[in-house]
């Protein structure tokens, strides 16, 4: 039973570029949440997707957008990258009907913006 997978593992981009990160949820899970974790900080909630719609959103600008596909996998897109977007991006999946409380996290994608 595969857990949450994320790709790529590492990514280096230049300011102003766009990036797409991908996440496949744990088998049986239908909800995907994305978090940004700066070095030495706790994860910050970006948004959550369920039934292919954005259900919750944290305090992030519109440069951050996402998508969920019919197979429950998800993408996080960041446009017009800033140096401050450098962080570890974590994807977490859960099952909405089970309450969605317990989230399973992927290994993360480390994004470096130069």
């Amino acid at each position: 039973d595969a857990g949450v997978t994320q790709s790529p593992t590492h990514l280096i981009k230049t300011r102003g570029q766009q990036v797409t990160l991908r996440c496949s949820p744990k088998s049986g899970h239908d909800t995907v949440s994305w978090y940004q974790q700066a070095l030495g900080q706790g994860p910050q909630f970006i948004f959550q997707y369920y039934e292919e719609e954005e259900r919750q959103r944290g305090n992030f600008p519109d440069r951050f957008s996402g998508h969920q596909f019919p197979n429950y996998s998800s993408e996080l897109n960041v446009n017009a990258l800033l140096l401050g977007d450098s962080a570890l991006y974590l994807c977490a999946s859960s099952q909405m009907l089970a309450g969605g409380d317990e989230q399973y996290f992927g290994p993360g994608t480390r994004l470096t913006v130069t």
Binding site: G42, Q56, D101, E102, Q103, F105
Partner: protein, 112 residues
């Protein structure tokens, strides 16, 4: 903004000793969870305690919750080198369903 704040920010203890980490939060919650993170990688879910529970155990872990003080503690007994990691509390606020807010974490180091 952070909902939970862990205390202490860093903790170094001898292998075999007990480690206690605390978490305080600001608003009413549905539940509180503790996670472990090794070397800046993915988080591992340790334990969830609901707002109507006061104490929960899982192996060497003991979590308490005091909703009147808006605080929780995580106790790791008989620590091992493998327990070296960052530990985060995360709260699911009543005012915002299904959005989990993390604290800034406690970095635990176990000395051999």
């Amino acid at each position: 903004s952070q909902q939970g704040e862990e205390d202490p920010q860093a903790l170094s203890i001898q292998e075999g000793e007990n480690a206690t980490m605390n978490c305080s939060y600001k608003t009413s919650i549905n539940n509180l969870q503790w996670y472990r993170q090794n070397s800046g990688r993915g988080l591992v879910h340790l334990i969830l305690i609901r707002s109507n529970e006061r104490e929960k155990h899982s192996g060497r872990l003991r979590v308490t919750l005091d909703t009147s003080k808006k605080s929780s503690s995580l106790l790791i007994t008989a620590s091992r080198a493998a327990d070296t990691a960052s530990y985060f509390c995360a709260t699911d606020r009543k005012s915002s369903a299904s959005k989990i807010i993390f604290g800034s974490g406690t970095r635990l180091s176990i000395r051999p």
